[in-house]
Amino acid sequence: MTVTEAPPRPGRTAAVKAARSRSWRDPWRLAALFALLILLIFIVYPQLWIVRSAFTSDDGAFTLARFVAFVGDDTFTTPLVHSVVVSVAVGIGAALIAVPFAFVMARYRIPGREGILTMLTMATTSPPFLGAYAWLLLLGSGGIITKGAKEAGIPLPFDTILGVGGIIWVGVWFTFALIFLMVYDAFRAVDPALEEAAASVGSRPLRTHWKLTLPLAVPAIATGLYLASMRIFADFGTPMLIGGGFQMLPVVVYQNFLSEVQTSTGTAAAASVMMVLVSAAALVVQRRIVSRRSFAVTGSKVQPLRELRPVPRAFVLAGIWITLLISFVPHIVVVGTSFLRWQSGILQWEPTMENYSTLLADSLQPIVLSFVFAGIACLLALVMGVVVAYIVARKKFRISAPLLNNLVMVPYILPGTVFAIGFILAFNHLPVILTGTALILVVAYFIRRLPYVMKSIETALGQVHPSLEEAAMSVGAAPRRSFRDIVIPIIRPAVISGGTVGFLQMITELSATVMLYAVPWVTMTVVIFTNAMQPGSPFGVASAMTTVLMVSIYIPLYLLRRKYRTLSF
């Protein structure tokens, strides 16, 4: 209910007052305050602790020294520069693969396109450390290929994939599908009439694509680049597993915070602040490009799919399948090695089910815990997501609605490592103690994925015209009833898909989990990570665990895609 801001005039003060008191009785107002409280406790409060810690010296006084060190001391400048350079390199590399790929998929008739699109969607949801782990198994110093090549006497250009090259290689294959999906949609959305208009004034196809189609896709490319770069910038698993000592910020933060040798909470906090600043700056750049370069390009006509001539067609198909093959190497390697015997870290080419029986005997609990944590967190995120999205989209509360809308998006720019440090600093003492409990993981998953879940629901709500609810009220449904009977069923597909994607990201979460977990609350990702970090550890079991993790991601994803196709409104 709206409260007009006009100064009360005599004769209508009573009406205004009545409207105001009615609006306070709106249960959504209470929900808004409650949601705000949750966001303040779990988003703002931990971040304040990070800031406090970053500006406090080891003996408790205010200091700027940590940030001065960031400028002058290359133990900090190096990881910062490394992180930025690697992220940009990964983004560009991924875009170089994704943009041409998206273009041919969007414009030409490609056999098996539905399958290819499904595989690319799968690629965007693979566990973040999967690539690093699998490529390490293949090309690490004792890797399957490196060792095989050495024994066969074939010279390789490198001894090991460890190092900056490895991070970029893994990062590119890990993120290109993200850019692909964004750019593919943009290319599909270009109104064919625009290109026909260009042709009608004498522009040849190649020129049209260069001067018209590509520029129209710039916002999508920028968004894809941003998502890809930030995924690597915030990723802890990849540089930790495959960096081989190449210093990047998440690793530095982790080591400074948790290493047994020289912990420095303040240093970790300062590095965290730097990470947040970088990722906020990247968001600003992305937003600026998108807002400057966005044009309304959607027409009523759908892009027709053209036929390719035989020779280019052969090249295109080869390119597509080689790209897909490389991006699925990690999956193949992990599933393959999970059925092979390992002995003290060395692969024996002997098929076995031993890895799985060991897994069931020793590590059933992490599997169950992963599902329980992600499941509860996902439900929380859905409920909160629906409430916040509804308030933001429908209720014009003057203070709480914009506040909620902005606060809820903050975790979007917080790397998992930073998020975890905030939680530890804030919740390892009174008034709220969560460290060492299982709850800290649940809450962390819930809050971290809330922006994604909430945004997908908000988008769906934007398509529920307010008159649909008014229509229900006009035939006698009170607001709560119309929300239940009209709004919820209509946004259900978005709720389900937002929830599924949220669940997938939660169950594969590593960078925050690895800092927050405490025995016995161990998740699948932690088990895989600790196994992969120890030379000579049971790689087979880790592979089996990763296979289980992949199955638990791809089955819901498959069901979701199938359900969507049968949904008809």
Partner: protein, 351 residues
């Protein structure tokens, strides 16, 4: 006519959105069983007024009654209204049958009753046999019929329609408005219909309220509104018209501000008073020079099928619109006389 029809009475409704005043002390009375249209350009406040009557918006001031009931403080869902939206607002996840039955099921009516009422409602709008379709599978016209059946299923006290036909194409609009009028008369329900289309308003209403800038300019039957407009705005909004502004000459004719005087066969009012004379094109006849009230040069002529509409420029520069049958050449001089005219004293601008 339904014996339970209630009249609608709106008293001094005002509403502002922040600094913008949308309605300024609007009064309106719709007698029981009649259909009233709120006619006006976009932004005139007609939709806001309708939404206040429905209960979707709260007025800052003023009262609303359905019959004897003061409903200003009754929430929408207890007001017993039927509302038809411009966007149809059918629930996409429900079938046609479920859309119409939803309100009945909320009232916990016995299943057989619900079934009978839904069947009756769909028969009334001519959609029997489409019960199991989803709204997306229907045309715009059919969707609006479902919306109408849904609004009437609960036998509400009043039926409120917000530009229900503006998303339909021209031919269907004419067909649908007759349909709406028929159903309204059959059920005898009191109805308010918002539109910006004067043809629609004139054809289907018992009462037309012309709105402009948050006020009601004139309320009357369609004939009154068309033939005896009280303000220049009403005259220019409804139908095509020529407005000649001037003052009443000492002889009772219209002094076109020094550009000549036109006699209208009788005094237009008190001498010296500023007035506007409204002339409908169909009331103009071509006559020989001697008897002509106006002599002008034809500047534009258009063929419209059953008639021709032309514009003559008077010596003073005013443009006079008239209907005639025989072709006229542009540039020719023509003598015109008005068979009928309306004197308007309230100048509220033109639409």
């Amino acid at each position: 006519m339904k014996s339970t029809s209630l009249d609608i009475r709106v008293d001094g409704i005002s509403k502002s959105f922040g600094p913008v005043s949308a309605l300024e002390s609007v009064d309106l009375h719709v007698p029981a069983g009649q259909l009233a249209t709120l006619l006006g350009a976009s932004g005139c406040g007609k939709t806001t007024l309708l939404r206040i009557i429905a209960g979707f918006e709260t007025a800052d001031d003023g009262g609303i009654r359905f019959g004897e009931k003061d409903i200003a403080k009754v929430p929408v869902w207890k007001r017993r209204i039927g509302f038809v939206f411009q966007s149809y607002a059918l629930w996409p996840h429900m079938t046609v049958e479920e859309n119409v039955a939803y309100g009945l099921r909320l009232r916990k009516l016995p299943k057989d009753d619900v079934k009978a009422k839904v069947a009756h409602g769909l028969a009334m709008v001519g959609l029997t046999g489409r019960e199991n379709r989803h709204p997306g599978q229907l045309s715009g016209g059919q969707q609006q019929r479902v919306a109408l059946a849904r609004a009437l299923a609960l036998e509400p006290d009043v039926l409120l329609m917000d530009e229900p036909l503006s998303n339909l194409d021209a031919k269907l609009r004419v067909e649908m408005r007759r349909e709406i009028r028929r159903i309204q008369q059959e059920t005898g329900i009191t109805a308010i219909y918002v539109t910006h289309d004067q043809d629609e308003a004139l054809e289907i209403s018992d009462v037309v309220a012309v709105m402009n800038g948050g006020r009601v300019e004139q309320v009357g039957t369609p004939e009154e509104i068309y033939e005896r407009p009280e303000t220049t705005f009403v005259a220019s909004f409804v139908g095509s018209v020529t407005l000649l502004a001037g003052t009443v000459a000492p002889g009772g004719g219209l002094d076109l501000d020094g550009l000549g005087t036109v006699e209208f066969g009788g005094p237009l009012g008190e001498a010296g008073r500023p007035v506007t004379v409204a002339l409908r094109p169909e009331d103009m006849s071509i006559v020989d020079g001697g008897q002509a009230q106006f002599t002008g040069r034809v500047v534009h002529s258009s063929f419209q099928g059953s008639t021709r509409e032309s514009v003559a420029e008077l010596p003073g520069g005013q443009r006079l619109c008239f209907e005639h049958r025989r072709p006229l050449t542009t540039g020719s001089v023509v003598g015109l006389t008005a068979d009928r005219h309306t004197v308007i004293v309230k100048d509220t601008g033109v639409a």
